[in-house]
Symmetry: C2
């Protein structure tokens, strides 16, 4: 009896992803990537530690993993305004820099990735280009449907 080949292949893909990014493939890193794939919203370091608690990785290891993955470009870091760093898997079409906007519910605090939403800015002549050099993050705040 062999293990189910599909899962093995999947994990191998993650291992390759790490190595291609110049990082060694280790158990914590694979677990982190794997967990990110099951989540649609950015995770804080604390949330990640809690989510992987059963694996008993050291919290500092996971912290450094997040930093390393970010440096390697596999993960991006977002700041939704509550003074806690959050991380999410980066879009794979890396070259287009199409990081998606995030929505934060000001009541329940839930964070949603608006992966499908395109944001178009239409400035009055000169008003935008004289101020803004580069936009790196778009944040929408408001009330989510569940808090309506």
């Amino acid at each position: 009896m062999k293990k189910a080949p599909s899962k093995t292949t999947h994990l191998d893909a993650l291992r390759d992803l790490l190595r291609e990014a110049g990082l060694r493939s280790t158990a914590p890193r694979v677990a982190v990537l794997q967990h990110f794939q099951t989540r649609r919203r950015p995770l804080s370091h604390g949330e990640l530690v809690e989510a992987l608690a059963d694996r008993e990785f050291d919290a500092a290891t996971l912290y450094r993993n997040l930093i390393d993955l970010e440096s390697a470009g596999l993960v991006s870091r977002v700041n939704v305004g509550d003074n806690v760093w959050r991380f999410e898997l980066r879009d794979q079409d890396t070259e287009t820099q199409s990081e998606h906007p995030h929505f934060v519910c000001v009541e329940c605090g839930e964070i949603t990735c608006l992966a499908q939403v395109r944001v178009k800015l239409t400035p009055a002549p000169g008003s935008l280009k004289s101020v803004v050099n580069h936009v790196s993050e778009i944040l929408l705040k408001g009330q989510c449907m569940r808090c309506a």
Copy 2:
């Protein structure tokens, strides 16, 4: 010999400002407001404590002052992207603040009202409306021209 009347008048104006906002006029609060008037950039709590070190106010007092002043609407709180709260004197034309997007430079912390800029969100069908009930604030983060 009397004290210079102009300075007294200026401080009285700050005291009135506090009382009109429903706060008691105390030495730390007046000092905080006064210091904010000399600064154009948002200040963190730590920076404020350091700046007013010679007055020997308690750090917790200054912290609570910032919170109180924010609740009273005299200062606003920003998160520039380094996960440290910063505060700045709020513009006195209070009512106009809400409808236009804001741009925060993650390097210098300057906040710009993009009053002329319209933001259009084009969602994939259902992806936005199933999550977002109402958008109250649009925040763009990035690098401003002066920091380029």
